[in-house]
Every structure is written in structure tokens, then in C-alpha cells.
């Protein structure tokens, strides 16, 4: 099965070639190279997948050791691959969606001076993501984990000359690092307890409850950072500063699901701790709701989608925390399809309007974007969970699991579903329906010297084929993808596929009565439709509805500002105090005081050297007297 090596190797080769030779390859060529490598990786994954399919369910796991990475006595870490159902599943959609988005980017990034840098980072990202999911131990996964973080940093800050992009990139990396703190502590715990990082060693042990809780929560902290959950979600909306394909690939479809992957991978640890399970599901639910509320009132087309991503990731964790890992993963895959579709469509819209992202300045675009519009609509319906599109099925599975866990969690989920439908409707209405508001703005920008817009005649145009082809493919996937794990007719491929990884000992099977299932499905559809209807009702005519757009939501509950004020502010002040008061004045001051005291005492002592003989004689006499006094004490005693 040497195709396994090709899965990471091809994007790696692509990245290396682009790193050193990208500037020579120039425009379309480097894009095509990256695409070919990504597609090749996808093909290799498919080959591996097929070969796995041919095996017994229990034997579907291949280990490939590449080399010994860090050997220090008992700490022996290999750079090794483990191809099992979970990793291959992830690998499939990572490379698949990744290929499509790379292809799309050729068109989207056209004309950018740093064209090849972009594709280097994309290929590096795909490589890192593959390592993350294919690694056979936690530490090597961490390698990929950080690698995707780095690529994310590079891609968010791709347009480095924008201050906002630079800040967002740094924010993303640092926030992720907070999560990594947890991940690293988890790694230390693993080593201390097991003496190994290998999934094979770690995931088959019996753990005590408290240790499992600690370990699971630390792992989850890592996942929270990477997957933008409360309290570390703030970086994701800002990450929309990156080029739109990046938002689609990294910040919607793949990288942010790494946390979901990690939790799923660690399921055998998590199941020892109900506290951890509750934490995961509650945080998931809370994030889902919070992000959905914020998304209701964003004007930036990508920020809406970003908050929606945060919200949907919350669903996934809700599903996993509720014990139905299959549902969470199902939703992850579905979400990858429709969210990538939505982002790419949004990218097409932005492309068409020459980098206009404010939805209030769009409108009526359905007439101008014949392919993008239906694609976006499909994505919208999938996300809004309108059957029979993708989102409905996976969300339904999660809600069922949540119901099983606790009706309260389910209620939060349903409310979120309502909000989801509402804000997506708002977005669709504002972008594709109503008045054409972009025209005036285009003219303004043209007058303001933005000749690019002016020369284009101000009329939006559909994107080139490299961009639309992926749209079509993803749209198809969003319509039909749900069949991968449909809850009827024995179509639950994903569940069956993953069954060896989540045996009943890890994820106890639960059953929700068929009637209840129907009821849950109907209720969620009802809420989704209600959200859709209210969205149409509210936004069909108006563009600005201040009463529905309270500032508190526009500012995301002021959480970002609050954090800066309560955490960042004092921290900065403290650092300032440390560096300029304590370090500058106290520590260094002490040193200078000591040295200064020598100089000063030297200056004072010089006064003793008066130059007068009698004074010198006095000094000698005084010394003699003192010594005589001392010896007289000794003689007396």
C-alpha cells in the first residue's frame, strides 16, 4: 500500500517546489502544479480507501512508519502514518475539497503579485492537514496541527499590507496557541501516564475518571482553539481577512474541523469522563447559539458565514459530546461541502463586485451571476437545514443525540436552527434579491480613483470556469452528499465505516424511538422554515432595519472588546510595568545602583585624600589607635 506515502508526499513536493521555484513558475503554472498535487493526493487517498474497503471491518487499519522522529530513551516518537477509517474519511474530504478549492483559486487569485506564495501555502496546508489526520501518534498529529496553524497564519495575513489582515493573522495564531497550550499539557500527561503518544498504545487503556477528565479537557482545550469554540472563537471571524478560498478551505471546511477530529480520535479517552462529555456538549451548544445570534446581524458577507461556521462547529461538538460521534462527523463532512460551496459562491460574488464585501451594498445579483446564484441557494438551503439538502440530515442526527443527552441541549440546538435559517435568509435576500445597490457604490469607488472598478464598467460578471466548476461539483455534493449517511435504507455508510473506531464500549449505542425521531425532525424543519419565513418577511423590502440590528449584536455582544479590556488591557499594562518599571528601574536599577554606589563612594573617599600631611598622619594614627584598641580588648580578655 505504498500509495499511502503519496498522500502526504505529493502536496509536500508541491509545496517544496513552489517554495523554491514558485517565483519562476509564475502565474497559472504554479496554481496548476498545486492543483495537480492536491488532486494526486486525493487520488491516492481514494486508492487507499478502496483497498481498505476490501478488508474486514476490523482489519481496516494500516500502519506506515516513515522514520523515527524523536527518540530519547523511553520517549520514542515515530513519524508514522495510521490509515484507518477515521483518518481516511477525513483525508478524503480534505484532499477532495482541497483540490476543488485549489482549482478555484487559480481563477480567484488571478493577477495577484504573490500568486505562487498562495499556492505554496495551500499545498503546505494540505500536507499539514494530511499529517494531522494520518499521524499514528498524538505528537506527530501535533506536527500537522501546528503546521495547519502556520499555513492559516500565512494565508490570513496573505495580503500583509493590510493592517487588519496582519493583525487577524497574528490573532488567529496566538489564539490557537492558547488552545495548543492545552494540547501540549495533554501530551505531557499522555507521556507521563503511558510513556507513549501512539494512538495504538494510548487508546486501549483503562483510565481513572479524574485523569481521563483532565486529559480529555486538555485535549478539548486544544480542539476549542483550533475549532473556534467558546471561549477561543474570536479569531475565526477576523480570519476572513484572508482570501476567500482560504476562508472556504481552512476556515470552514477543513482546518477548523481538526478539533472535531481530535475529539473523535480521543473518544476512547473521553468516554471515561462524563464531565468531559458534558463540557464538550455544553460548550458546543453554547457556541452554536451564541455565534448564530451574532451572525444575525453582520453585514460582511464573509463574516456571516464565519459566524455560521462557528455555530455549525458547535453543532458538531454537541453531537460528539452527546456521544454520537458518527453524527458529529457526518455533519462535519456535510458542512465541508455546503460551507465550502457557500464561501466559494461568496467569493464569486466578491470577485464579481471587485472586492465588495458589504451585503448592504449588494442586491439583485441573481440576474448577473447565473451559476453562482443557484450554487449559493443550494448551499443556503443545506445550511438552513431544509430537507432534503445535506444540512438537514446531519443536523437532525445531532439533534437526536442531543435530545438523548438532555432536552435542554436539544432546545438550544433547535433555537440555533431557527436562527440559522433566519440569518441565511437575510443574507440571501440582501445579496441576491431586492435593489441593485452596488451600482452607486461602484461609481463612487470609480470616482475615488479605483480605476479597476471603473474600467470594468461597473457591471458584475460571472466568474471564470476554474471558479465555477468547483461550485458546480460542490453544489452537487451538497444536494446529494447526505446519502452518505442517510438514516434509512441501510445507507448509513459513514456510521458503518466508522463502527470499528467507536465500538459500544466507547460510544454506547442509544436509540431514540422512531416516533420521537420523526418529531425531532419535524420540529427542526418547522423551526428552520419559521426562520426562513421570518427572514424573508423582515428583509424582503428593507435594507436597514435598526430594530432588528441592535448594536450589541453587530459588535458580537461586545465580547471582543470586553476581552481586550478585561484581559488584554491589564495584561499589557502588567507587561508594561514589568518591562519598564520592574525590569528597567528595579532589576537593572539595582545593578546600576550598585555600580553607581561604587563610583559615588569613590568620589566621596577622594575627599579623604586632602593632600595635607597632617591628615594623612592622622589617618595612620587613627588606624594605629584602632588596632591598639582591638588588641587591648584581646589582651584584656
Amino acid at each position: 500500500m505504498n500509495a499511502a506515502y503519496l498522500i502526504p508526499a505529493l502536496p509536500l513536493i508541491g509545496a517544496i517546489v513552489l517554495l523554491f521555484g514558485g517565483r519562476r513558475l509564475r502565474e497559472p503554472l504554479s496554481g496548476w502544479l498545486a492543483t495537480i498535487m492536491a488532486v494526486g493526493s486525493f487520488v491516492a487517498t481514494v486508492i487507499v480507501w478502496v483497498s481498505l474497503l476490501g478488508k474486514q471491518a476490523s482489519a481496516r487499519s494500516i500502519d506506515k512508519n516513515i522514520f523515527t522522529w524523536v527518540p530519547v530513551n523511553s520517549l520514542h516518537v515515530n513519524a508514522g502514518l495510521q490509515l484507518d477509517p477515521l483518518s481516511i474519511l477525513w483525508c478524503l474530504f480534505v484532499t477532495g475539497v482541497g483540490s476543488l478549492i485549489t482549482l478555484y483559486s487559480i481563477g480567484y487569485m488571478h493577477g495577484d503579485p504573490s500568486f505562487s506564495r498562495f499556492f505554496f501555502l495551500l499545498n503546505a496546508f494540505v500536507f499539514s492537514m494530511i499529517v494531522l489526520v494520518l499521524a499514528d501518534n498524538y505528537l506527530f498529529s501535533f506536527f500537522g496541527w501546528e503546521g495547519v496553524g502556520f499555513c492559516s497564519y500565512g494565508l490570513i495575513g496573505f495580503w500583509f499590507d493590510r493592517d487588519t489582515a496582519a493583525v487577524a493573522a497574528k490573532k488567529a495564531f496566538v489564539t490557537n496557541r492558547v488552545g495548543d497550550y492545552g494540547f501540549m499539557i495533554a501530551l505531557f500527561l499522555l507521556f507521563q501516564h503511558f510513556g507513549s503518544f501512539n494512538y495504538r498504545d494510548v487508546l486501549h487503556s483503562h483510565l481513572s475518571g479524574s485523569f481521563a477528565t483532565g486529559l480529555a479537557l486538555m485535549l478539548f482545550l486544544g480542539a476549542v482553539g483550533k475549532s473556534a469554540q467558546i471561549p477561543l472563537y474570536m479569531w475565526l471571524p477576523d480570519a476572513m481577512e484572508g482570501p476567500t478560498p482560504v476562508s472556504a478551505l481552512i476556515h470552514a471546511a477543513t482546518m477548523v474541523t481538526a478539533g472535531v477530529y481530535l475529539v473523535a480520535r480521543s473518544a476512547p479517552i473521553i468516554h471515561f469522563s462524563s464531565a468531559a462529555q458534558w463540557t464538550i456538549s455544553i460548550i458546543g451548544a453554547a457556541t452554536a447559539l451564541l455565534a448564530a445570534t451574532i451572525a444575525c446581524n453582520q453585514n460582511d458577507i464573509k463574516r456571516v458565514l464565519a459566524y455560521s461556521t462557528v455555530s455549525q462547529l458547535g453543532y458538531m461538538f454537541l453531537g460528539e459530546g452527546s456521544g454520537d460521534y458518527g453524527a458529529g462527523i457526518y455533519h462535519t463532512v456535510m458542512h465541508a461541502f455546503f460551507k465550502a460551496l457557500l464561501f466559494l459562491s461568496a467569493g464569486a460574488v466578491i470577485h464579481a463586485l471587485h472586492d465588495e464585501q458589504n451585503m448592504k451594498r449588494m442586491g439583485n445579483l441573481r440576474r448577473y451571476l447565473p451559476i453562482t446564484f443557484p450554487a449559493f441557494m443550494i448551499g443556503f438551503l443545506a445550511l438552513a437545514a431544509i430537507p432534503p439538502f445535506d444540512g438537514f440530515w446531519s443536523k437532525d442526527a445531532i439533534l437526536a443525540a442531543a435530545w438523548h443527552k438532555s432536552p435542554a441541549l436539544w432546545a438550544v440546538g433547535v433555537l440555533t436552527a431557527f436562527l440559522t435559517a433566519y440569518y441565511m435568509t437575510r443574507q440571501v435576500v440582501l445579496v441576491f434579491f431586492g435593489q441593485s445597490r452596488w451600482f452607486d457604490h461602484a461609481k463612487e469607488r470609480g470616482a475615488a480613483g479605483d480605476h479597476h472598478v471603473y474600467e470594468a464598467g461597473g457591471v458584475p460578471h460571472e466568474a471564470p470556469a476554474t471558479m465555477t466548476v468547483p461550485l458546480v461539483i460542490l453544489a452537487a455534493a451538497s444536494v446529494l452528499g447526505w446519502l452518505l449517511d442517510a438514516p434509512f435504507g441501510g445507507l448509513d455508510f459513514i456510521n458503518k465505516w466508522l463502527a470499528p473506531l467507536f465500538p459500544p464500549t466507547v460510544a454506547p449505542a442509544f436509540s431514540v424511538a422512531t416516533g420521537t425521531k420523526w418529531l425531532i425532525g419535524l420540529v427542526s424543519v418547522a423551526f428552520a422554515l419559521a426562520g426562513l419565513a421570518s427572514g424573508v418577511a423582515a428583509w424582503r423590502r428593507a435594507v436597514d432595519r435598526p430594530r432588528l440590528e441592535p448594536a450589541v449584536l453587530e459588535h458580537a455582544w461586545y465580547i471582543d472588546e470586553g476581552v481586550s479590556r478585561t484581559v488584554a488591557g491589564p495584561l499589557t499594562r502588567m507587561a508594561n510595568t514589568f518591562s519598564f518599571v520592574i525590569d528597567g528601574r528595579l532589576v537593572d536599577g539595582l545593578v546600576r545602583a550598585v555600580s553607581g554606589s561604587f563610583a559615588a563612594s569613590g568620589r566621596q573617599l577622594r575627599r579623604v585624600q586632602t593632600g595635607y600631611v597632617r591628615n594623612y598622619a592622622l589617618g595612620i594614627s587613627a588606624g594605629a589607635v584602632i588596632i591598639l584598641f582591638y588588641v587591648s580588648l584581646r589582651a584584656g580578655s
Binding site: Q609, G611, Y612, V613, R614, A617, L618
Partner: protein, 101 residues
């Protein structure tokens, strides 16, 4: 009746102290120099006293050495003083303090 040797020693100590004090408080270089001579002679007295006490001739012989040395010191000292004050009117020790600090 003989005077106890301790009296001589005390006298010598007092003389020595006087000489030292003189050196400390007088300004005239020659006087200071004489004070040093006074100290040396106080030591001589001490030597002689101890010599008598110990019934040892060595102490008395030492006195001769001290006298010789004192003479040599006088020669050199006066030469230096003369050379120094040949170009100055005043002859106080406080006038010489170019070197200080």
C-alpha cells in the same frame, strides 16, 4: 631607691604620644620633623628601660642604631625640606597639597 621601670615606660609612651600629636597639629615642617625625632627618642628610652629590665645589653645597642638612623634621616630630610622650600616663602606643611584627591 630606684624608680620603677614602669615609670620610664610611661614617660616614654607620653613622649611618643607628644611627638605624634605634634606631628598631627603643627604646620611647620621643621617642627614636625623635630616631633619625629622626639618619637624616636621616646623609643630609645623604651629600649633602654627594657634593656635594664631584662638585663640585656642588646636593647642599649639598639639605641645606637636608632641614633644613626635618625641622623641619616635628618640629613636626607633637611635636604628635601631645603630643596622644597627654596622657592617658597612659607614653610608650612599645609602649603604643599598640589597632590590630592
Amino acid at each position: 631607691m630606684s624608680v620603677p621601670s614602669a615609670w620610664y615606660l610611661v614617660l616614654a609612651a607620653v613622649l611618643f604620644g607628644l611627638g605624634a600629636t605634634g606631628l598631627l597639629i603643627r604646620r611647620n615642617v621643621l617642627v614636625m620633623f623635630m616631633c619625629i625625632e622626639l618619637m624616636l627618642n621616646a623609643v630609645n628610652l623604651t629600649f633602654v628601660t627594657f634593656s635594664r629590665d631584662l638585663n640585656d645589653i642588646g636593647g642599649q645597642v639598639n639605641v645606637f642604631f636608632v641614633l644613626v638612623v635618625a641622623a641619616a634621616e635628618v640629613v636626607v630630610g633637611l635636604a628635601i625640606i631645603v630643596a622644597m622650600f627654596r622657592r617658597r616663602a612659607a614653610a608650612t606643611a599645609d602649603d604643599i597639597h598640589i597632590l590630592k584627591g
